[in-house]
C-alpha cells in the first residue's frame, strides 16, 4: 500500500499479538480516541489540530464570486485537500494516491454534502453575486487519522470564521473592513464529526468468513503503524443530534453487522465529546476577543457603546 514504508514480519506479528491482548503500542485501549489538541489562530478561520502526532491546519477564507448558473440562490463552498510530502514522503506532490482520494472523498461527503454549511445564506444577489467559502486543509504531519483530524479542523474553522460584513444597495456591494464593522459568522447548520475504525483479523481471512469465533478486532483512531497493517476500515460521520451523515466501509475485511452498529454508537459518544470540546474552545476564544474589543472601543472611541 504505502510506497516506501516497509513493515517487517516481526512488527506485524507483534502488533497483532498485542491487539489480541487488548494492548496498543501507544498505550491506548482499543476504543480510545487520541487526545485532540485544537489551537485557534489570531486570524479568523485558522485552526491547528493535533491528533497525537498527526497535525492538520485548516484555513477558511471567503471571497465574492458568481454562483453556478443552475444554483443562483446558493453560495460556493470548496474544500481543498491536497496532501504534500510534508506529511510523509509516501505522498507525492500533485499526484493523488488512492489513500489521498479516499481522504478527500470522505471529507467532501462528511462536510460538504451533509449540508453542514448553509449555502443559501451565502447568496448576496441571486444569480450574480455570492460568497465563495474555501477551506484549505494543510496536512503537516501524518500518524493516521487524517479524515478525522481534517473534519474536526474544517468544522471548527467554519464555526470560528467570520466574513466581512457587506451592505447591498441595488446592484452594488459595499464590503466593510473589520475595523469598520464587526465581521459576521457563517451559518453552520450542524457539526458532523468523523470517527474512523480499523478492523483486524489476527486469525486469517478464512477463519473470518467460515469460522464461528468472531475474533475480529476493531480499534478506533489508528496510528500510521496500525493503519499499515489493518484489514478493513470504516468511517462514520455523525453529529450530536444522533444523525449519521455518512458511513462508509469500502471493502476490506467482512464484518459482523452488529459490530458495525456498535461502531456507530461508539462514534456518537466520541462525536458528542468532541463537539463539546470545540464549543468550549470557541466560546473561550469569543470571550477573549470580545474583552479585547471592549477595551479597544472604550479607549479609542467613546461614541459606540457595547452591550
Amino acid at each position: 500500500m504505502a510506497k516506501g514504508i516497509e513493515v517487517s514480519i516481526n512488527e506485524k506479528s507483534f502488533v497483532f499479538d498485542a491487539l489480541k491482548q487488548g494492548i496498543r503500542l501507544d498505550g491506548r485501549k482499543l476504543e480510545d480516541f487520541r487526545n485532540v489538541d485544537i489551537t485557534l489562530g489570531d486570524e479568523y478561520g485558522y485552526v491547528d489540530v493535533r491528533l497525537g502526532k498527526t497535525r492538520v491546519v485548516a484555513r477558511i477564507s471567503a471571497e465574492i464570486s458568481t454562483p453556478f448558473e443552475d444554483r443562483p440562490f446558493e453560495g460556493l463552498f470548496t474544500v481543498s485537500t491536497e496532501i504534500s510530502p510534508m506529511a510523509s514522503a509516501m505522498f507525492e506532490n500533485q499526484r493523488q494516491s488512492d489513500d489521498e482520494l479516499l481522504i478527500s472523498r470522505a471529507i467532501e461527503k462528511a462536510v460538504r454534502r451533509s449540508g453542514a454549511l448553509d449555502l443559501e445564506s451565502l447568496c448576496i444577489i441571486a444569480g450574480s453575486k455570492c460568497w465563495s467559502i474555501r477551506a484549505d486543509v494543510h496536512f503537516l504531519d501524518y500518524d493516521g487519522g487524517f479524515i478525522d483530524a481534517s473534519c474536526i479542523a474544517v468544522m471548527t474553522g467554519l464555526q470560528h470564521f467570520r466574513k466581512n460584513d457587506i451592505t447591498v444597495s441595488g446592484e452594488q456591494i459595499v464590503i466593510h473592513s473589520v475595523e469598520e464593522r464587526e465581521p459576521v459568522e457563517l451559518s453552520v447548520l450542524h457539526v458532523p464529526i468523523c470517527v474512523t475504525f480499523a478492523f483486524f483479523n489476527p486469525e486469517g481471512v478464512e477463519e473470518n468468513i467460515k469460522g464461528e469465533s468472531n475474533n475480529e478486532i476493531y480499534i478506533v483512531d489508528t496510528t500510521l503503524e496500525e493503519d499499515l497493517l489493518k484489514d478493513g476500515v470504516l468511517t462514520v460521520a455523525v453529529n450530536k443530534n444522533r444523525e449519521v451523515c455518512q458511513i462508509s466501509k469500502a471493502g476490506g475485511l467482512p464484518m459482523d453487522a452488529l459490530t458495525l452498529m456498535d461502531c456507530g454508537r461508539k462514534a456518537y459518544d466520541i462525536a458528542v465529546e468532541l463537539t463539546n470540546q470545540i464549543k468550549k474552545l470557541l466560546e473561550a476564544d469569543y470571550k477573549r476577543r470580545n474583552e479585547g474589543i471592549q477595551y479597544k472601543l472604550r479607549a479609542e472611541n467613546d461614541r459606540i457603546t457595547v452591550e
Binding site: P72, S128, E179
Partner: protein, 385 residues
C-alpha cells in the same frame, strides 16, 4: 603485466569540447578575449523588431478579421519571438468605494472612518497583462518550468512597473439604436455627451499576450520583455457598443421557494472600424538586460601563454579576475555562469524597475551592469522599436 598503459592526449574539435566540457570551453575562449558566440564581453546582441503584421490594425495586414489587437515579431541572432496581444471584456464589480449615487448613500454613513487613499501610484491602479510563453522545442505537453517562470516573472515585473493603468483599459461603451429616420446608428459617449448608459455597469478590457519562441539560444526574459513593450505600443483598443434592445433586462426566476431576478449579461460588440490607441505610461517603460559574472580560471589562461598579451588588452580592469559578460548566449555561457544579473531600467535611465541578482555579485560588477543597461535602454528607446 609489465607494460604500463600509455596515456594519450585526445583532441576534441571545439564543438565537441563545448558539449562535453562547457566550462573549459568557455574558459579557453575567455582566455583569448573572445566569447564562443564571437561577441566581445560587453557587446549586446542586436535586436530587430517590427509589428509583424499580425494585428487587425496593422497596415501590412490584409487580414482584418483577426482578433489580435497588437503584435510584434522580434529577431535577435537566430532567435525569433512572436508576440500577439489579444483582449477580452470583463464586467467590473462596482464596489462601494466608487463614486456614484448608490454607493455614496451607503458610504456616507461610514465615510468618517474610511482612510482616504492619497497615493495615486498605488499598485492597485496598475493593470496586469496575462502572458503565456511557449518555447518551441519539438515536444508537446504541459508548460515547462522555464515557460512558467518566464510567464510569472513577466506578469510580476509588468504589474509592478505600472506601465499600464487600469483607467487605460476602461471600455467606453456605446449604444446601438435606431434613430428617428429608422436608421441604425451607434452612439458613443465622446460624440454625444447627452447619452448615458445605465450608470451602474462598467466594463474593462483584459489584455492577454502570447509569446511563441523559436530557436532559443540564451536567457529569454529580455527578448520577451522587449517584444511585449513593442507589441503594446502598437496595440489598439476597439470601440464597443451594446445593442439597445438588450439593455438592462431583468429575468425573474423562481426556484425551490426562492424569488429573485437575474441580471441580463449584456452582449458587448466591438466596433469593426473605430479604435483608440492603448495609452501606456511612457515614463515607466524600461528595457531589460542580462549579464553573467564569471571568474577567469588562471590555469586555463596560463596554458596559452602566447595569448597572454592579447588577454590583458581586453580585460583592462585593475584587480579583477572576474569579468562581466553581456547578454548571455549559448549552452557554454548558460551552464558556466552561476552569477547572474538581470536589470530592467526605465526609459530615462533614472530608475530601475526590476533587479535580480543570483550568486555572488560584487558591487563593481553591479555598477557596471547597471551603467550598461542604462545606456542600452536609451539606445533602444532611440531606436524607437
Amino acid at each position: 603485466m609489465s607494460e604500463q598503459p600509455e596515456l594519450k592526449l585526445v583532441d576534441f574539435p571545439p564543438a565537441v569540447l563545448a558539449r562535453i566540457s562547457p566550462e573549459l570551453s568557455l574558459q579557453r575562449h575567455l582566455a583569448i578575449g573572445l566569447r564562443p558566440n564571437l561577441r566581445t564581453f560587453e557587446e549586446f546582441k542586436t535586436v530587430q523588431i517590427n509589428d509583424g503584421g499580425l494585428s487587425r490594425y496593422s497596415s501590412t495586414n490584409s487580414n482584418n478579421e483577426s482578433d489580435v489587437l497588437g503584435s510584434s515579431i522580434l529577431r535577435s541572432g537566430n532567435t525569433t519571438v512572436i508576440c500577439t496581444i489579444r483582449g477580452g471584456i470583463i464586467e467590473e464589480d462596482i464596489l462601494g468605494e466608487n463614486n456614484n449615487e448608490d454607493a455614496d448613500a451607503v458610504n456616507a454613513i461610514f465615510a468618517k472612518d474610511k482612510e482616504s487613499i492619497i497615493n495615486q501610484e498605488n499598485l492597485i491602479d496598475s493593470a496586469p497583462i496575462y502572458p503565456i510563453v511557449e518555447i518551441e522545442r519539438g515536444r508537446n505537453g504541459p508548460p515547462t518550468d522555464e515557460e512558467m517562470n518566464l510567464s510569472q516573472k513577466l506578469y510580476e515585473t509588468f504589474l509592478h512597473s505600472k506601465i499600464l493603468s487600469k483607467s487605460s483599459l476602461k471600455v467606453k461603451v456605446g449604444l446601438k439604436s435606431k434613430n428617428d429616420k429608422n436608421e441604425i446608428e451607434i452612439l458613443y459617449n465622446d460624440e454625444n455627451s447627452e447619452f448615458q448608459l445605465g450608470p451602474k455597469r462598467s466594463w474593462n478590457y483584459i489584455l492577454y499576450c502570447k509569446f511563441k519562441i523559436f530557436s532559443r539560444s540564451g536567457p529569454l526574459f529580455d527578448l520577451i520583455w522587449i517584444s511585449l513593450i513593442s507589441a503594446l505600443k502598437q496595440t489598439k483598443l476597439p470601440y464597443a457598443y451594446i445593442d439597445e434592445n438588450a439593455a438592462d433586462i431583468k429575468i425573474p426566476i423562481k426556484m425551490t421557494g426562492n424569488f429573485g431576478t437575474i441580471r441580463e449579461q449584456y452582449a458587448i460588440t466591438c466596433d469593426d472600424e473605430k479604435f483608440n490607441n492603448l495609452i501606456l505610461n511612457n515614463e515607466e517603460i524600461g528595457y531589460s538586460s542580462n549579464f553573467g559574472v564569471i571568474s577567469l580560471d588562471k590555469n586555463v589562461s596560463n596554458n596559452n601563454e602566447e595569448d597572454e598579451k592579447k588577454m590583458e588588452i581586453d580585460i583592462n580592469d585593475e584587480n579583477n579576475d572576474s569579468i562581466l559578460l553581456v547578454d548571455l548566449e549559448g549552452e557554454e555561457e548558460e551552464i558556466s555562469c552561476k552569477n547572474l544579473i538581470n536589470v530592467v531600467v526605465d526609459s530615462k535611465g533614472e530608475n530601475l524597475k526590476s533587479l535580480t541578482l543570483t550568486g555572488n555579485i560584487d558591487k563593481s560588477s553591479l555598477q557596471k551592469a547597471i551603467d550598461l543597461s542604462k545606456k542600452r535602454s536609451k539606445f533602444l528607446i532611440n531606436q524607437e522599436i
